[in-house]
Symmetry: C2
């Protein structure tokens, strides 16, 4: 129906931007458990238009969250660098940064807990964030600022816990994540009197593979 | 269609038991976010049969969970009593008991976080559990076994966190709730170097009303 090729391309690009923009808003507010139909509705395009460009919600999530994950990886690398001179503040700020990102963006909360097979760029940024995170933990542990039985998977545990707190209590206690974070940071910092139950072997194996 | 009144009543009672039994199983495995249709299917009765006896899933939840809540209240009262002579073990076992109940029964996990307006008996048992819990905390705090800024709502915070951990990681880390519990118990026990962010005022107001 288009009179020439150029307006069609401009139209297509406009639709694409509308879809990505609407998807980012929907994901942040409601998480990634939404349908392409809902996103199409929010973007004001037909669902067929979305399907022609994105095969699934996952594909759209990857594109939208590439930028988010890039910033997350950047921040993690900065804190890993800072850990050389100020190990505890670097660790503390890193942990509180993640918890706050979860609190303000449900899509981010979903995606760091269920890393998906997204675009090559998305996977690459996720990998960069994970590597920086492990370097950060190693430096903070070497500086003696973490209890000896702290395990890297304890961060994953905390993220799942915070996701539950956000899901169940965001209305009645919107800042509860700060208090949970403060408690957990103190527990990670100081060795307790009693040994901890071991971390999940599935989690520790996944890290070393 | 029934030939007499008596077989009808026996039939009705059998149906009622089948419904309650199936509902208990479904709630424990999948939480309370299920439909009456699904429960009818599991119980092998028509959905009309359920609707005649229970107006909603909530009504059925109340009946099924009355017994569960009664045992929970009993246990809490026992630990409150024990707190007079052994405050810390009583508090520790109480907290780990709740976390484990959440881990083994998703319906219980739902119901203590979203207390519903159920039967009079259910509400009464919930109230008894809450009162015993507050008595327990008061005794443990008086004994100096909790950090001074511990707040009763920190237990609610922990339950939401544990629910998230169970939801997200039950397959990959089925015992992670034990490690989360151990960390949090140590954090509740020992005063930290830094002040905690305050608890939610909505939560603290709800308690005093």
């Amino acid at each position: 129906v288009a009179p020439s090729d150029r307006p069609l391309r401009a139209d297509a690009e406009r639709n694409r931007q509308a879809i990505i923009c609407a998807a980012g808003r929907v994901f942040a507010e409601r998480g990634t458990g939404v349908t392409l139909e809902h996103i199409a509705d929010q973007a004001g395009v037909g669902v067929g238009t979305i399907y022609r460009r994105f095969a699934s919600v996952d594909a759209l999530v990857s594109v939208v969250l590439e930028e988010k994950m890039r910033r997350y990886a950047d921040r993690t690398e900065q804190e890993a660098e800072r850990a050389l001179s100020a190990p505890w503040p670097a660790f503390r700020d890193y942990v509180l940064f993640i918890l706050e990102e979860q609190a303000t963006d449900l899509a981010f909360s979903d995606v760091i807990l269920l890393p998906r097979l997204g675009t090559a760029l998305f996977r690459q940024e996720t990998r960069r964030a994970l590597e920086a995170s492990m370097l950060l933990i190693e430096r903070v542990a070497t500086a003696g600022e973490l209890r000896p039985d702290f395990d890297h998977s304890d961060l994953l545990m905390l993220l799942h816990a915070n996701a539950g707190l956000l899901r169940g209590a965001q209305r009645s206690a919107p800042h509860a994540w700060k208090r949970l974070g403060a408690y957990m940071l103190q527990a990670f910092h100081h060795g307790g009197d009693e040994a901890l139950p071991p971390p999940s072997s599935t989690w520790t194996r996944a890290r070393s593979s």
